[in-house]
């Protein structure tokens, strides 16, 4: 007969040894297998053994930012999914919801994060920022003002910035793919 209680005891002694794979890693692994990356997104892992730090590039196929390639870094800490991933844009871009340091203003990456969300939710959120920049919740106030008051002008400025030109004296990075 199988001695259930002794199995349990064996397991609990194994439990004391530090687990090789953290809960965060297990969860990220699950997120990644469920991920359905659209053609406009690409993920790369600089260290293939480290699932918690990776890069994402977005190449929007419509909207103001069409034709650009936008690069982000993802850093996931060991408290994931209780803490949201840290997402940063590594280029200087002209966007109402991304500041010049690359901080991203997306509600689910901040106050509205909850652990039932996953990497897919974050990717959908980022994709959405490029299709529908949001002037009501700005990190770059100039860009938001621009979008609110004159869409045509905003569109022109976005195109200028994507070519690596300056917008109101600030030089941006050439992101054309």
């Amino acid at each position: 007969m199988i001695k259930i209680w002794s199995i349990k005891k064996d397991n609990s002694s194994a439990e004391k040894k530090k687990p090789k794979v953290s809960a965060a890693q297990i969860r990220v692994q699950k997120d990644l297998t469920e991920l359905a990356l659209p053609e406009t997104m690409q993920m790369t892992f600089p260290d293939e053994h480290d699932l918690l730090n990776f890069n994402l590039s977005i190449t929007p196929d419509e909207g103001f930012y069409r034709g650009g390639i936008f690069r982000f870094t993802f850093n996931i800490n060991n408290n994931y999914p209780h803490d949201p991933p840290k997402v940063r844009c590594i280029q200087k871009i002209y966007h109402p919801n991304i500041d010049l340091e690359g901080n991203v203003c997306l509600n689910i990456l901040r106050e509205d994060w909850k652990p039932v969300l996953n990497l897919n939710s974050v990717l959908v959120g980022l994709q959405y920022l490029f299709l529908e920049p949001n002037a009501d919740d700005p990190l770059n106030k100039d860009a938001a003002e621009d979008l609110r008051t004159n869409r045509k002008n905003f569109e022109y400025n976005v195109k200028q910035s994507m070519r690596g030109k300056d917008v109101k004296g600030v030089y941006f990075e050439n992101v054309l793919s």
Binding site: M1, K8, N11, S12, A14, E15, A23, I26, R27, K30, D31, N79, P81, H82, D83, P84, E111, W113, K114, P115, V116, N118
Partner: protein, 85 residues
């Protein structure tokens, strides 16, 4: 014919009273499994039900409620978490 029973083994199964094939929304592991910090499912890694009807592994939920960002809310519907009795 007479049968003499010399020995017998009993077998039992258990499962949580939750819909089949459902997973905990926080760790994404089956409810009948355990949260990612535990090794043995069952009483050692119980489930917790909220009055909002949402279910999680207790350890997963408590860890979430302990974070500042949770504001004491259910991770599904963002209503104040009240454990069902």
């Amino acid at each position: 014919m007479k049968v003499k029973i010399k020995s017998w083994n009993s077998v039992a199964i258990w499962k949580w009273d939750v819909p089949n094939e459902e997973v905990c929304g926080i760790c994404r592991v089956a409810f009948d499994g355990c949260c990612s910090t535990c090794k043995t499912p069952g009483d050692d890694c119980p489930l917790i039900w909220g009055e909002c009807s949402h279910v999680f592994h207790m350890h997963c939920l408590l860890r979430w409620l302990a974070t500042e960002g949770s504001r004491g809310q259910c991770p599904m519907d963002r209503k104040a978490w009240v454990t069902a009795k």
